[in-house]
């Protein structure tokens, strides 16, 4: 493993049992939410992960931080395989891996004071005396732009943006190396979203953090990420440095996603609105054969129905731009 890789995912698989049918036909099927994902995260980088609802991006995030057990594959953190680690064996790594959640309302206990919520990590890992903890918490509050005097307030006294700051303070309390941000700004208004994105960038520079940044808003992902991975029905279909992905997308699905972004400006002249991505993603209970995108793909041919493509460089791209497609788009080619 090369030295600068902090997190390595190898063929990660996660399945959920789902009850289907009724009466005597009632049975349990296995829904493959993550269907063999391999990704590397380099130390200090931000990897963006985008995809539509139900593509498995949040499930993948929960696998990475081991909030969920894997059904296959490996999660390797700093050279240590965490895939089968017991909760006790995981504890030292929990300090180094943290998560920021989407819903700043649902992820804070309304009956606990903010100081005690942010101080939780110190308590769990038995760090410092009560007085020291309070000082640390107040330092953290100042660091994320909260007034340290609000130590004894309850979450409902804070706005959405401030609550997200509380969540971030809690996540960085133990000086982790790696933070998974699961849609951290999608519940926030635009003007507040910009504040939180700036805060995350400042903290990354200051603390040398590595981020896995999950979002459905492609402009946000583009803004924060060094590299971006696109997920569709449990698979990574394309991964590339941000600029390369947004300017030279190879996979038809990536192109379709990009073309669906609303205009930034009324006069924008992007390849736009012309691309028709019909219908909805198919059910992950019964994923299509071959390439999972073929039923919606305007470029699909017979080969796509039978043979699954693999994630490879296409059209002379370097090893950092991979696409899972038999008939990738060349530069200048339109969907």
């Amino acid at each position: 493993m090369s030295e600068d890789v902090l997190v390595r995912l190898k063929d990660v698989v996660k399945e959920f049992p789902v009850k289907t049918g009724s009466g005597f036909g009632r049975h349990t099927e296995r829904l493959q939410a993550v269907a063999g994902v391999s990704l590397d995260l380099k130390r200090g980088e931000t990897l963006g992960l985008v995809g539509e609802t139900g593509c498995g991006k949040s499930t993948l995030a929960r696998c990475v931080v081991r909030l969920l057990e894997l059904d296959g594959g490996q999660v390797i953190f700093d050279g240590h395989d965490l895939s089968d680690a017991s909760p006790a064996a995981l504890l030292p790594y929990r300090r180094r891996i943290q998560m920021v959640f989407q819903d700043p309302y649902g992820s804070l206990n309304p009956r606990r004071r903010v100081g005690s919520i942010i101080g939780d990590p110190f308590e769990i890992h038995a760090i410092g005396t009560a007085v020291e903890r309070k000082h640390k918490v107040q330092d953290l509050m100042a660091l994320v732009g909260l007034n340290p005097e609000h130590y004894n307030r309850f979450p409902n006294e804070f706005s959405g943006g401030q609550r997200q700051r509380i969540g971030i303070a809690r996540a960085i309390a133990l000086r982790p190396e790696f933070i998974v941000c699961d849609e951290p700004t999608s519940a926030l208004d635009v003007s507040i979203q910009a504040q939180i994105l700036n805060l995350l960038a400042e903290l990354q520079a200051e603390l040398g953090l590595t981020y896995l940044f999950i979002a459905h808003d492609l402009s946000v992902v583009r803004h924060v990420s060094d590299r971006v991975a696109v997920m569709y029905l449990g698979r990574i279909v394309e991964v590339a440095p941000s600029e390369s992905l947004y300017d030279h997308a190879r996979h038809p699905y990536t192109r379709a996603l990009l073309s669906a972004i609303p205009a930034f400006d009324p006069d924008e002249t992007r390849e736009h609105a012309a691309v028709k991505l019909a219908g909805d993603p198919p059910s992950p209970l019964d994923p299509p054969t071959g390439c999972r995108f073929h039923p919606r793909c305007p470029r699909a041919q017979t080969r796509c129905m039978s043979e699954a493509p693999s994630l490879l460089p296409r059209h002379g791209d370097g090893p950092d731009h991979l696409a899972e497609c038999h008939f990738p788009l060349a530069d200048g080619e339109t969907l």
């Binding site: 539509e52 609802t53 706005s159 959405g160 943006g161 401030q162 208004d189 635009v190 003007s191 507040i192 979203q193 910009a194 504040q195 994105l197 700036n198 960038a201 459905h216 492609l218 402009s219 946000v220 583009r222 803004h223 941000s242 600029e243 947004y246 379709a256 996603l257 073309s259 669906a260 972004i261 609303p262 205009a263 930034f264 400006d265 009324p266 006069d267 924008e268 992007r270 609105a273 028709k276 991505l277 219908g279 909805d280």
Partner: protein, 332 residues
């Protein structure tokens, strides 16, 4: 501005609308003196952040805000909406002004088939047979792009995906061929790909039937896609009101400027964003002057004392904004 309806072409004329709610914490005035016109075949975008009053403003004029104290005027095709009783309003909702909401799942009854719900709505307004209404429902579902509508008409809401449900809601909303379609964050809960489909569908319906649309959203991208005119709201007040292009290219109000600046751009990677500092004011005890004053970098003495009214400081009657800055500039 004159209290009487000014332009003769407007379908809906709202003047000095105020909506207040009595809450345990005190009187909350959600909308403070907002005026706008809606014209046939055009789309008015109302943009604002959460709590700006953008949804309440439209819901209140069709009688969907129970317990609210409403003042001002709202005339639909010359008829005074605010003076109507519930039965009269019900006759307007649907054939006159139809609404689509953000969350289609909670706007449909989970235990009745989708087609049945559309048919019942039609039969509530027109006396036609069940069979005819069902046929209309199938046609409507086909119109909004539901595949195999003759079969899907008997499906229950849980059998539809989010995008299909929003299409079904649109089918129901356009069933009576309304003059105005109010779309309240219709794509916020949807993925971008589905959002693009829904926006395209709304544009097609407008082109075909000349329906006026009020698009309520927090997303300036949706405004850039769809709106002809834009009303920017903040803390219950109208901050800026302009045609779409001038609003994006020559925004006049510091709030509009801040909102446009705080968006991440697709064509510029990294770097810092320019957020608006601070957070929106409390609606129960708002600042006495301009509601944006506490967050505004250009504010001066007068801003915190007297709220500015929507005016045309630039001398352009189509581009209005509520700000004291032009007067300060003229005085110095």
């Amino acid at each position: 501005m004159a209290a009487e309806p000014v332009s003769d072409g407007a379908l809906l004329e709202v003047r000095k609308l105020e909506v207040a709610f009595n809450t345990p914490d005190g009187m909350l005035t959600a909308v403070r003196g907002v005026s706008f016109d809606v014209e046939r075949g055009r789309t008015l975008g109302i943009v604002g952040e959460s709590g700006s009053g953008k949804s309440v403003a439209t819901q209140s004029i069709v009688g969907l805000t129970s317990g609210a104290r409403i003042s001002g005027q709202a005339h639909f095709e010359g008829k005074d909406l605010l003076g109507m009783d519930e039965a009269q309003l019900r006759a307007i909702r649907g054939p006159g002004i139809a609404m689509i909401f953000q969350n289609p799942m909670s706007s449909l009854h989970p235990l009745y088939p989708i087609g049945w719900q559309i048919s019942e709505m039609i039969r509530g307004h027109e006396s036609i047979t069940r069979a005819r209404a069902r046929k209309r429902s199938i046609e409507l579902l086909a119109r909004v792009g539901i595949p195999r509508p003759e079969r899907r008409v008997d499906d229950y809401p849980h059998q539809y995906s989010g995008g299909m449900l929003q299409r079904a809601m649109i089918a129901m909303a356009v069933a009576l061929n309304p003059r105005i379609l109010v779309a309240d964050e219709p794509t916020t809960a949807l993925d971008v790909t589905v959002q693009a489909q829904i926006l395209r569908l709304l544009r097609q319906l407008q082109d075909e039937f000349g329906t006026a649309i009020i698009m309520i959203t927090h997303d300036l991208g949706v405004i850039a896609e769809l709106a002809h005119d834009v009303l920017v709201m903040y803390a219950g007040r109208a901050m800026e009101h302009a045609p779409q292009r001038p609003l994006f290219h020559q925004p006049c109000h510091p709030y509009t400027q801040g909102l446009l600046r705080s968006r991440p751009r697709l064509d510029a990677v990294g770097g810092r964003l320019t957020p608006i500092p601070g957070q929106p004011p409390s609606m129960i005890s708002p600042p006495p002057g301009c509601p944006f004053e506490p967050r505004c970098e250009l504010s001066f003495g007068r801003c915190s004392e007297v709220p500015p009214l929507l005016a045309e400081p630039g001398g352009d009657a189509s581009h209005l904004y509520a700000c004291w800055l032009p007067e300060a500039g003229a005085g110095s």
